[in-house]
């Protein structure tokens, strides 16, 4: 965040993974511009540093995963895939670009030939995005079920499953679906077929979690999804991710907080937590070596 009256904000970090030489990362924010530097070189996009260190973020808005629309759930998948699947950032970015291009042509009522010329690049990238998301959900599902059983206790069960908008497994099948939906796309001025319409179905006792689950169950489920994310990122990357926990304590009751800390404490990875109340963070359960930094009136102190 840029301080009021200032013209920029800078975050510098030194990242050391295992025994490798440390990387220097610098992020500079100016109004409307975000620039990244990795080891003093400008990097064009976030892909360059995503592969270096994996991160899992817990923040108070996570209840959106259960209560909100599909975009929060797609973001979760994309964040994990960006960090753990080497070809994914390119596939996702190219898909976005092809999609925006095609949608622009649809809105401008361009010729059918112009619009269709973007179908193949769109279909080829869509298939790769869908395949990667499918593999990830397949890997995450058992972790979610197990974590939910442990956190929620009782006999309730939870399940998550990938619900792609288009089930096609080849670019040719996506092309056919695009051709079938052409007139509808034109009428809407937007492309209806593809992973931009994907969702993740989350169920409790075989009912939609959003309408069926109690507040407590929904919170337990979100925590279970995050624990599964942590486990899957670790399994895929072969190293412990850094956990970033932003004021999550206020959202969780005592039992769930304890479960979260147990999961973190057992992991042994680096954790960065923020809280407005130090009582929420029991340093003793998190092992040794913790550093506490206080932020007061915009100043940091240890």
């Amino acid at each position: 965040m840029i301080r009021s009256g200032g013209d920029r904000a800078t975050i510098d970090a030194r990242i050391r993974v295992a025994e490798e030489p440390a990387h220097e990362v610098s992020i500079q924010l100016r109004p409307g511009v975000r620039s990244l530097r990795l080891d003093e070189k400008r990097v064009p996009g976030p892909e360059a540093y995503f592969g270096i260190v994996q991160m899992v973020l817990f923040h108070p808005g996570e209840l959106e995963l259960v209560q909100g629309g599909p975009s929060a759930r797609r973001t979760l998948l994309d964040r994990v895939l960006y960090q753990t699947e080497p070809g994914y950032p390119t596939a996702f970015r190219d898909h976005q670009r092809a999609l925006k291009s095609r949608n622009r042509l649809l809105q401008d009522e361009a010729s059918a030939a112009s619009i269709r010329s973007f179908d193949r690049p769109l279909a080829e990238t869509a298939v790769r995005v869908v395949a990667a998301r499918g593999r990830l959900l397949h890997q995450m599902a058992p972790f979610v079920a197990a974590a939910f059983a442990e956190i929620a206790g009782g006999s309730s069960t939870a399940a998550i499953a990938y619900r792609p908008q288009c089930e096609a497994s080849s670019a040719d099948e996506v092309l056919e679906a695009l051709a079938r939906s052409f007139e509808r796309d034109r009428a809407r001025g937007a492309t209806c077929v593809g992973p931009q319409g994907d969702d993740v179905e989350i169920r409790i006792d075989d009912h939609p979690a959003r309408s069926y689950g109690s507040q407590g169950q929904q919170r337990a489920l979100v925590l279970a999804v995050k624990c599964a994310e942590l486990a899957v990122v670790q399994a895929r990357a072969g190293q412990l991710p850094v956990l970033l926990i932003d004021d999550v304590s206020s959202e969780l009751d005592e039992t769930r907080r304890r479960h979260l800390y147990r999961t973190i404490g057992g992991g042994g990875g680096q954790v960065v937590m923020t809280t407005t109340d130090a009582r929420f963070v029991p340093l003793e359960t998190l092992g040794t070596g913790g550093t506490v930094t206080r932020v007061s009136q915009g100043k940091l102190s240890r």
Partner: protein, 192 residues
């Protein structure tokens, strides 16, 4: 230094280095360089036939009788044309589009010299090689051109080909990205 710094790939420090170099360089070199730069845009212009840069009306490739006029390679930019020329493997002629279809940048088919291409193809051209880059815009442009060529009576029987994309020569398969490797597999050939 301010003007030098506007050149692509030239930062503040390089601009300074270039300026000091020019200050100390022999006078006739600086005069010749300045003359070339100021005449550049007056003398060099796109070839009337293919869009390559030339000082004449038609470029050296278009007027070279040894080149195969039956094969035309469509490229996005003159730089791409030069890259293909450096391979020494292409015997035909070129058609430079100057841009690629890019709705997000406001570039549509009407901004590309497609009518001129269709016009040229009618005269004894057997094959059109589409060598736009393997990007979203490059692929879309290739597909649009293929459709335009097939849809026109004069050019319907011309063979339209796309350059292959695959694994880099001397590269490791292990490090090739999935798309490149996948395409290399799709485009596999029998070993003779």
């Amino acid at each position: 230094m301010r003007l030098l710094g506007r050149l692509p790939g030239v930062g503040e420090r390089t601009a300074q280095r270039l300026a000091f170099f020019l200050l100390r360089a022999p006078r006739d070199y600086v005069t010749a360089l300045g003359g070339s730069i100021s005449e550049l845009q007056e003398r060099v212009h796109p070839c009337a036939r293919c869009g390559n840069y030339t000082e004449e009306e038609a470029c050296a490739i278009c007027t070279d009788e040894r080149r195969d006029a039956g094969v035309v390679c469509v490229v996005g930019t003159v730089q791409d044309l030069m890259a293909i020329e450096r391979t020494g493997r292409f015997p035909g002629r070129y058609h430079v589009l100057g841009a690629l279809l890019a709705p997000l940048d406001g570039v549509g088919p009407e901004d590309l010299p497609i009518p001129a291409l269709l016009e040229r193809i009618g005269d004894g051209v057997r094959e059109v090689v589409v060598a736009t880059p393997p990007t979203v815009e490059g692929e879309a442009t290739a597909l649009y051109l293929a459709q335009a060529l097939k849809g026109s009576n004069r050019t319907a029987c011309v063979r339209v080909t796309r350059i292959a994309s695959g694994v880099q020569y001397g590269g490791d398969l292990e490090y090739a990205d999935q798309v490149t490797l996948g395409r290399a597999l799709d485009g596999r050939r029998e070993i003779e």
